[in-house]
Amino acid sequence: MQASLSQEPKKRLAAVYDWADERLGLTGIIDLARHKTVPDHKYSFWYYWGGISLFFFIVQVFSGILLLVYYRAGADAYESVRQITYDIKFGWLVRSAHSWSANLMVLAVFVHLFSVLFMKAYRKPREFGWWSGLILLGLTMVFGFSGYLLPMDDLAYFATKVGLEIPASIPLVGDLITNIVRGGQDVSEVTIQRFFALHVVILPLMYIPFLGFHLFLVQKHGNALPPSEEAKPMSERRFIRFFPDFFAKDMGMWLIALNILAILASLYPWQLGKQADPLASAPEGIHPEWYFMSQFQILKVFGRWFPGAAGEALGMLLFTAALVVLVLIPFLDPGSKSGRRARTVTYIGLGLLLGLIFTTIWGYWEV
């Protein structure tokens, strides 16, 4: 009697599973997860950074929705952020988590970019993964730039003013485009309203499909191998099961990321400056967020070396050239079978990385 009682729910559960399986093909998905393996080698650490970027993106969505509950774009923007920071319970923590997670996400995305570059993971058949990744990087930086204005404190105001000078320096159409994006000739509540629409509607609408495509490609092609591993015969390569081994490690990384975020957000809460005043002069040492510091410094230095519009034009030319090189990376690596010999890409990567770090430090030095 007792046995039949405990058997009954199990049978029913199995019946429900069979019913759903017939329609959704669950067994296929479970089989895939069970048989999927992931390469394991001494560079494995660098293969977690895409996942870490994804984790911070999820935090951004979650904390962003929470901020949306109280944030008011337009003329009331500063006051609403002041209320979130000082009035609403734990509002300071939600805002701090959103800001810190944004910075950590940009950092993780950069680490991911350079890991992929140095491990040569952009090679055939993964070119589209590389390109969709570059688009995601660009969108991430526009996310950062548009979100930075939304509190409308003095730092946000001047950073946006200065930042918009970069597209404005594009020859011929720069001014026109910038005025449309800005909603006038100066940053105002009109700018906040459209940056807000960009930040919470347009960018997510663009980002999520590219992210889906990017993740689909990772599943389709599996994890890439660094050239040194590829050179080994199959028998010497090590693999771990995707589930539960790799999954557990991935979640472990997410847990570490969550803890770092929690420590930073709670011990170093994000500050809110004075309300932006369009008639006040810029505060001393005004500078953009660290991930725009390199471009900021290059423009500044070029302006010093080449007076007038020439400096800006040369700066833009350099940025464009760097972008073109990044896009063309998969084609600069012709010996795709032995990426080991593709020294060119390694040197380009090192040049970019050192250039970024050097100009960033230089920029902070001069602030």
């Binding site: 929470l66 509950v69 009035d87 609403i88 319970k89 734990f90 509002g91 923590l93 939600v94 969550l258 929690a262």
Partner: protein
């Protein structure tokens, strides 16, 4: 060797003799679940407090027992004025004979705000036709199940002081 055997014996005896003792697998699961619960709580509590701040504030506002309406004594006879008592709308009526009444202005039927109609000598809810007596607040017609809550009214110089009955 000896030590290993002793430990193995202890584990075996624990497994066989005392069924109440946790197995290693159960211990790991339980520990994991406990840590998970702590994380959920550490995230869930701030989020709950963050989202419920306005509800808490409004509950605090609703707890008021008295409010003073400046210059309300000038209200013409046979008319009413709306004011906020705590978080909700309320109504002060100056009757034709010079007496005063004040009520919670939220219909007891489905929560619409009611309206004073001096020519019909009634308080009326436009949503479903609920009707109340303008002096007592009694529900006299329509769907309302309960009378409107009546407040105490005290006229002091030009001000009117409203308090819970």
């Amino acid at each position: 060797m000896l030590n290993e055997e002793v430990v193995k014996n202890i584990i075996d005896s624990a497994d066989e003799d005392e069924r109440d003792v946790l197995t290693r697998r159960e211990f790991v699961w339980l520990g994991g679940a406990a840590v998970g619960a702590i994380y959920l709580g550490a995230i869930g509590y701030p989020v709950y407090e963050y989202l419920s701040t306005p509800a808490q504030r409004s509950a605090e506002a609703a707890a008021v027992t008295q409010t003073t309406l400046d210059n309300a004594a000038n209200l013409p006879k046979s008319s009413a004025m709306m004011f906020k008592f705590g978080a909700r709308p309320a109504m002060l009526i100056h009757h034709e004979d010079g007496s005063w009444s004040a009520f919670n202005a939220v219909c007891t039927h489905l929560g619409c705000t009611v309206k004073y109609e001096p020519e019909q000598s009634r308080i009326f809810c436009a949503c479903h036709g609920g009707t109340y007596d303008p002096r007592t607040g009694a529900n006299v017609a329509g769907p309302p199940p309960k009378p409107l809550t009546k407040f105490n009214v005290e006229v002091k110089d030009a001000s009117v002081i409203i308090s819970r009955a």
